[in-house]
Symmetry: C2
Subunit: 251 residues, 2 copies
């Protein structure tokens, strides 16, 4: 096994919709699941409101501390879509309608017979020096500026854009994971053995997550999910066997 | 109408489980929905890994910039539960097993016939000066330190703890919202009118969210959800009527 660096990513979710509780975000999970097999681990996520200062601060922070940063949301044609301007501001770049983006929109709307309104033309505003990201669903492109990838908020579009982004990413060691689900187990009974196991395997991260299932009639089923993660598959196999043995000892 | 201040909250989600993509967070939405009718608006969320420095930084940041901050996750009995120590460190407080928390655990485990293992006693570790938060599901308490409320990560437990927290919160103006769902509409056609409407109503925040529904067979249904939010109900009613008229003009 070759030792490979851990490559990290951050996500800035731009969305009053998420913060209000009206919509539950699914892009974080979607992006995490996309990056994981590429050898890129999510390190931090920030959900901020549709406010330029908040977006600028979060984009700068995650762009600096992670190898890659992604934003979702706020790149449509309406007045509340301020992400492109905010990302340009975060890097001190100018922003304007760019010919390559305009041509994509013209081509796209010509096909569908829609008019390119001035509002739609806003979606061709791309920061100076950015590389476009293809949008296979609705045409209007995202863009990459430095190590920041600006994606749409609509999950279906964000997913399509990730396909275009993937070849631009250099992953590191892939983090593998195993999980063992124990029924009727309780964390307090497992904790000492788990702590010892963690001490013995510094290269494996072992997590313990209690779960509860409502069976109705006031009855609750409970258990613990044990999850181990590592870039070292051999060490992970050892830990998996130990976790299974731990589970067997509880029943 | 009395003008009331906007009261804000932040959430620090502590969770390798969320960052790995294995689990989709639901506490953000749950807490947002709980706070909203109390007149408290979510301003920022950070999802960080099970790492003391990361937790300390996020707790300090959101405690400073929001009226209230909440953490979820990492307060169980296992080695990966480091939230209580991290929150104590964020405020430079000492932390140790505290009698009131120990008594709650003793009482709880006596009822269920379980042994209080040293691991379980970790859950009685409470920072100096903190106020306990009742856990109606599994006994082990959360705590409040300054303006930070430390909740469990299991959604059912977090929800129970919020009930105990609610009377300690002083809300401000309640933000009301209305939404108008348009089928077959497209943002680019609505954007100009929406922008004008937003300009006319500085006290209402108008958001536009495209949606797509997969009808199968390669067919896609599309539309736009228009959402307006304000603490001023009269202004919100005006905007709602305008949004409905806008919708009618599109069909």
């Amino acid at each position: 096994m070759t030792a490979t660096a851990i490559v990290t990513a951050g996500i800035v979710v731009i969305g009053d919709e998420i913060l209000s509780g009206r919509t539950r975000d699914i892009n974080v999970q979607q992006i995490a699941e996309f990056l994981s097999p590429l050898g890129i681990s999510l390190k931090e996520v920030r959900i901020v409101s549709d406010d330029q200062d908040a977006i600028v601060e979060a984009v700068r922070a995650l762009s600096e501390r992670c190898d890659y940063a992604f934003t979702t949301g706020g790149i449509g044609p309406t007045h509340d879509d301020i992400t492109a301007d905010a990302v340009a501001a975060a890097f001190g770049r100018s922003i304007d309608v760019r010919d390559d983006a305009r041509e994509i929109l013209e081509h796209w709307y010509a096909k569908s017979g829609s008019e390119i309104t001035p509002a739609r033309m806003r979606m061709a505003r791309i920061p100076e020096g950015a590389i476009l990201i293809e949008n296979p669903v609705t045409g209007a492109p995202g863009f990459q500026l430095e190590n920041v990838f600006v994606l749409a908020g609509v999950p279906k579009i964000a997913r399509g854009m990730l396909e275009d982004v993937a070849p631009r990413l250099t992953g590191g060691a892939v983090t593998h994971s195993v999980s063992v689900r124990l029924e009727n187990a309780r964390e307090g009974d497992l904790a000492a053995a788990l702590g010892e196991l963690q001490d013995q395997h510094a290269d494996v991260s072992i997590g313990s997550y209690p779960w509860f299932e409502d069976l109705g009639g006031g009855k609750l089923k409970r258990g613990v999910a044990l999850v181990a993660r590592s870039t070292d598959e051999a060490a992970l196999e050892d830990v998996e066997r130990a976790l299974e043995a731990l589970g067997a000892s509880q029943t």
